[in-house]
Amino acid sequence: MRQQNIIVNKIDWLTVILYIALVFLGWLNIYAAVYDEELHKSIFDLSLNSGKQLIWIVSSILIIIVIMSVDFRFYDSFAYIIYGFVMFLLLLVLVEGTKVAGSTSWFSIGGLRVQPSEFAKFATALAVAKYMSKVGYKLTKPKDLFITGMIILIPPLLIIIQGDTGTALVFGAFVIVLYREGLNPAIIIIGLIAIALFVLTLIFEQQTLMIAIGVAGTMLILIGKKKWKRILTIVAGMLIVLSVVWSVDYFVNNLLKPHQQNRIKALINPDADPLGYGWNVTQSKIAIGSGGLWGKGYLQGTQTKFDFVPEQSTDFIFCTLGEEQGWIGTSAVIILFVLLLIRITMLAERQKETFARVYGYSVASIIFLHFMVNIGMTIGLFPVIGIPLPLFSYGGSSLWGFTILIFILLKIDAHRMQVLLR
């Protein structure tokens, strides 16, 4: 009884409400995405994704009850075991998994399909939090930084082997967590410069870019003081930049698979081949753009209803929202997400333990990355990377994964005052 009271009284209801709102809106939009006028099936029909999603929603409630019932210390204590178990599943799926759309990332259990990589997110978050909360941990210590990096990088490597690059990229979100915990911003800035160079390389011809870098470097040398040390630094910097440009070019043209190359090309110039690799982005933008300010009305979207947008109920669910609810709808959902993210960082900040704070920031970062990449790709600001919109997209594993991620935080948060009692 005492346990129950604590949950009801101390749980952060604002987060719960935002969670419920996003899940409910997602469910309505999943129905809109698969709705077929001629068939007149209800939203509860189990042959539709909306019906199935309802099962996932109900089962998520059961998961929430379980999470809330387990002792809050469990997640701290069992962090490495959970991490180890999920890593085992990631290995096992390579052997026992079912191949779906080119990726071996699914277990088929009966009629259901489970994607262990969705659970790797919260498991990694727990493990990182656990490791970073150890006594004497310092990000400036190379050993600590290295081990933290390993914990973060092992799951995405396994996921890349499965063939699901999109989900692997999500683990880049931990950079935000590390930043919060004191990572030298220079590393992040270098990373951002690398990304900028990457994009520039894709947009411009390699030769043009190299000449531009050469000219810029020469000008820097001519303008400033002509000291040997300074000149050497600039030349060295130029050489590094040039090698990055060259390797990006090599990476894109030689190492990426054709479909990945195309996704990047589509981002840069979707109009070059609107029927080929630009199809998804073009149709997605048409769907959202045609929604206007107020939208076409619920179940009235033609782009989604007539299958012009691919993956409508999963990765491109935002199109349905944009087309039927217009800018009002999309902005409302963006506000809900930003509120959720801010609220989670607030929860994280009020934790007394490093473990809980790091975990809280992990949750926020992972949701943020999904949010940014998923919506970004539907409006043509990101390449098409197949990751779902948290809580909104159709998919059991995804919904379960985010539910676990959020509600472990809420459970820990509800008990934050008890930490001192330990």
Binding site: E37, E38, I176, Y179, R180, E181, G182, L275, Q283, K285, I286, A287, I288, G289, S290, G291, G292, L293, T302, Q303, K305, F306, D307, F308, G322, E323, G326, W327, T330, S331, I334, I335, F337, V338, L341, I342, T345, E349, Y361, A364, F368, F371, M372, I375, G376, I379, L381
Partner: protein, 601 residues
């Protein structure tokens, strides 16, 4: 804990991304208005609903032209997918190379918009293909109709329908036509195009990404229904028409039958002709090329386009002008020695009736001289000019010298010699009666079409007036022909004079050269003629009407290179009148005589 600003930096990044996205969405959804139409383009398919072309009936409500449903196979290249090319080609009866070529053409036209892949698949061919349609996404049928015929006559008058040409499309001001639409190109189909075509409709359907139709767009608010064309009831008697064409088989020439009381064309035969079905459907171009090359010119509508000297059939007209001008009187006996011109009629005294009956060339020489030289001027050249002027005015009133204005395109007007013509030929004041006297017996510069001949006979049958001949008597439910066909045209000859000429024409059939045209129990009035042909055998000509009182039919028959009018032309005219008036032909021997075809002996 590291510096506290970092948590704000992170929150700032979250808010910033949310804000950037919201602004980008505002641009995408509100500011940029190209996406709405793009979404409509995706799902909208314009489906043209071709209007049913009006049906054409004969005067007894037999169908002359109907519509046969055919199907154009359309393709949307983006959606097209053919797994079994062999089966596909087999079903449509095309070769693989053909398939590749057609697909390429469609792709070049537009990837997303439908274009015609294969035209005019017949109903049965389409039924075969339809069973497999589901296997060939991106292909769909477009219902259209072709002109169909249950008979094989009247081709040149009905005309044909064909795809509108680029030039016609450019000239079109109605905006009703699109490339690939059909339009009447000749005959009634062209003349009554506006009435027949109706109005095409458009249906907007929504299709999904695979091109499957998912329903109408906005509940069909933008759709327009097709309006069928108006039906036409023609004046043609199909039975008479078919009979006339049968008689003329193997002969070159024309036969026109008119109902004098109304100007309605009962039958308009031109020979040789063709089966109208040849110029409808997929083999149009091939068949058209063959017909156009044919040295017998089956596409040439002789009844309205060929003109030639009328020969002796001109004599009743000459007599009427003489009587009206008062240069002869009905009972005046004129001695003809036969010295003026070669003549079949023996020398002796002739009154006008006898002159017509015996077809006296010398008599009409004298009559014509009296018409031309009435002594209005002492100068014989001027006198001749004044006379000819008066004479030609009479002929114009009979509908000669200019197109009559029948509702079949490309009618020729022929030629009536007037002072201008001879001034051009010989110079002003350099011609007189003796220069031009060959026209007194219907030879020389007079050129008349078979239609004009029939019309002039109808005017005689009416004792002084005619209605412009026409082939359409009712446009849809209006129940009447075009306004101008309801107007009486008087020829300017007193009705009393007709009595004389008509009596004479009766004698031609009862006891003269026109005996082959006689119908037992019915008084037939006619006149034979032989149109001189310097290039070969003379042309056989005959005009007639019957019955003498209250005439029901007036005919002109013209048979090329068949010699005297008394033979081929008179026989055919008589048979056609008998057929029309009595419903059956009793003069089997005449029929056999015509079908045997030995007219020169």
């Amino acid at each position: 804990m590291v510096d506290d600003n970092r948590k704000y930096v992170i929150r700032f990044v979250f808010i910033l991304v949310g804000l950037i996205y919201s602004l980008k969405l505002f641009q995408l959804q509100y500011l940029d208005d190209t996406y709405g139409p793009a979404a409509e383009d995706n799902i909208l398919r314009r489906i043209r609903e071709y209007a049913y072309r009006g049906i054409i009936y004969d005067r007894n409500n037999n169908i002359l032209v109907h519509n046969d449903p055919v199907f154009d196979i359309m393709v949307v290249p983006k959606e097209a997918y053919v797994e079994d090319t062999m089966l596909f080609c087999d079903l449509l009866g095309i070769t693989k190379e053909d398939f590749i070529k057609r697909m390429e053409e469609a792709r070049e036209y537009d990837m997303f918009q439908p274009s015609v892949f294969l035209k005019m698949l017949s109903k049965t061919d389409f039924a075969r293909f339809e069973d497999h349609l589901i296997d060939f996404p991106g292909f769909y049928p477009q219902a259209r109709s072709l002109r169909g015929y249950d008979h094989n006559s009247l081709a040149n008058t009905l005309g044909y329908v064909g795809e509108i040409s680029k030039r016609m499309l450019e000239k079109d001001t109605t905006g009703d036509y699109k490339q690939g639409d059909y339009i009447g190109i000749s005959g009634i189909e062209r003349e009554y195009e506006i009435e027949l075509k109706g109005k095409n409709g458009v249906k907007y359907k929504m299709v999904n990404v695979r091109g499957v139709v998912k329903g109408s767009f906005k509940d069909g608010k933008r759709d327009t229904l097709s309006v069928p064309g108006k039906n036409l009831k023609t004046t043609i008697d199909l039975e008479l028409q078919e009979y006339g064409e049968w008689l003329m088989e193997g002969l070159a020439g024309a036969a026109v039958a008119i109902e004098p009381a109304t100007g309605e064309v009962l039958s308009i035969v031109t020979s040789p002709s063709y089966d109208p079905a040849l110029l409808s459907g997929r083999l149009f171009s091939k068949n058209f090329a063959v017909l156009a090359e044919d040295t017998l010119k089956p596409l040439f509508h002789r009844a309205i386009m060929s003109v030639y000297p009328p020969g002796s059939t001109f004599k009743p007209l000459q007599a009427l002008i003489g009587l009206q001008e008062g240069v002869i009187s009905p009972h005046e006996q004129i001695y003809c020695s036969g010295a003026l011109v070669g003549d079949h009629a023996p020398p002796g005294y002739y009154d006008v009736k006898k002159a017509i009956q015996k077809s006296s060339n010398n008599y009409f020489y004298i009559v014509f001289r009296r018409i031309i030289n009435q002594g209005l001027s002492d100068n014989t050249f001027i006198d001749s000019r004044l006379g000819l002027e008066k004479w030609s005015e009479y002929l114009y009133k009979f509908g000669l010298g200019h197109p009559l204005g029948i509702d079949v395109p490309n009618e020729k007007g022929g030629q009536i010699p007037n002072p201008d013509l001879y001034n051009r030929m010989y110079g002003e004041n350099r011609w007189k009666w003796s220069t031009i006297n060959s026209i007194s017996i219907g030879q020389g510069e007079i050129l008349i079409s078979p239609l004009q001949m029939a019309n002039y006979v109808a005017a005689i049958a009416n004792r002084g007036y005619f209605y412009t001949p026409h082939v359409v008597k009712e446009i849809s439910d209006a129940g009447k022909p075009r306004e101008r066909y309801l107007k009486k045209h008087f020829v300017g000859i007193d009705s009393v004079h007709f009595r004389t000429v008509i009596d004479a024409m009766e004698m031609v059939v009862e006891g003269g050269t026109g005996f082959r045209a006689a119908i037992p129990g019915i008084a037939v009035c006619g006149k034979t003629g032989t149109s001189q042909n310097p290039h070969g055998e003379d042309h056989s000509v005959f005009i007639a009407f019957a019955p003498k009182d209250n005439p029901k039919i007036a005919v002109s028959v013209y048979v090329q290179n068949a010699g005297q009018g008394a033979r081929a032309a008179a026989s055919i005219a008589g048979l056609m009148m008998e057929k029309y008036l009595t419903g059956e032909v009793k003069k089997i021997w005449i029929e056999q005589y015509v079908k045997a075809g030995h007219f020169i002996y």
